[in-house]
């Protein structure tokens, strides 16, 4: 069963009052949604950690949700914040491969597309987005990214630094 956003808002409102059953439904739905949200935006091994970190944040910050407003934009803002934070901490798994597949979570593709991480990356210059994709998401070294993109190593570093700064400043932008 898949809950729509109105149902999620109501469930989260109940969870704020201590309803464990409603809260479990919120977390289960969020877990699935986050798994789809992060897929392809962080290496698969790191994605599970990131989902867990985000669920911890949802738990810690559940009092900031306003049940009169849609649930997914709130969850997406927290997910984006955790994602950018993860990239800034320099998370890299060079040995892993990206999983670009979509299966569970496909049904939410439209919503995800609207507020996904790709929208954030699209706000960067092509060079910044490419440097971040290669080094921070795919796990290439600076030298490898430099060879792949034709940017000098120092330019790759500058593009990553400026790109991450811009991402952090646009967590809530559409």
């Amino acid at each position: 069963m898949r809950a729509d956003d109105t149902t999620m808002s109501a469930l989260m409102g109940k969870a704020q009052k201590g309803d464990a059953e409603a809260y479990r439904a919120v977390l289960d739905h969020s877990r699935k949604w986050l798994t789809g949200f992060y897929r392809g935006r962080i290496d698969p091994a790191g994605a599970d950690d990131l989902v867990q970190e985000t669920l911890m944040s949802v738990h810690a910050k559940r009092g900031t949700y306003d049940p009169s407003r849609p649930f997914l934009p709130w969850l997406a803002a927290i997910a984006r914040y955790r994602w950018v934070d993860r990239l800034r901490r320099g998370y890299r798994r060079p040995e892993s491969e990206l999983d670009e597949t979509l299966s569970e979570g496909d049904h939410e593709a439209e919503v995800i597309a609207r507020i996904s991480i790709d929208r954030m990356l699209a706000q960067l210059s092509d060079a910044q987005a490419e440097a971040i994709r290669l080094v921070k998401i795919e796990g290439l070294t600076i030298a490898e990214a430099s060879g792949r993109t034709g940017q000098s190593e120092s330019l790759v570093k500058v593009n990553i630094h400026r790109g991450l700064k811009k991402l952090a400043a646009n967590v809530e932008s559409e």
Binding site: G18, Q52, L55, S57, H59, G63, R69, P73, I78, V171
Partner: protein, 222 residues
Amino acid sequence: MSKANNVMSSPATNSQVDRLVADLVPVSRVRARTGLLIVAAAMLLAFMVTVPIFGVRPDVAALRPGEMVLLRSGALLLMGVAAAWAVIASSSPGVGSRRDGWRWALAAALLFPATSLALVLGGTPFPDGVLHASSAPWCLGISLASALTIGSMLTAWLRRGAVTELNRAGWLTGLAAGALGTFVYNLGCASNSVHYVALWYGLAVGISAVAGRLLVPRALRW
């Protein structure tokens, strides 16, 4: 590993959900109106401390403020409240819900320095009396001390929230605190010069905004 398995959550994530559910207790919501009340209380506190030290203008005390006091008070209040509201609202995040109305209030407040500049460019020399005003240290001191009070209380409240754009929140907190702190000073400020407002009020608000950008984000990180 199959694709289907790839998208399933790990046992660790499932047990985490169990732990979080077990850890659930009712939580009080972070409400924007509480944040506004905190800001109002901080302003009142700053005012109560300032009045015995610095006093208020006679026209303000008589509830018949002059034109310049009304104009600058309105601009400062508008800018302060708009910036405070924007940062308070950001305590409950949401993609697509960013509030930028404060930019218009800032633009309105910038009419004071713009007017001063236009007068100077038009041939009116910048008054020496304003540049070397003996009240300038009071202006900066009271404005910034009030801003510190307001900014600290606002930041402490914001820590309960989930601010996701930390640098923006820093700027806005500093701007709000600076504008509202300078508003407190303005009630006792004897000057009626637009140049004085442009220079010294502008400096106080600017310093506060920069301090907010530098200090607040690290307090709000989560």
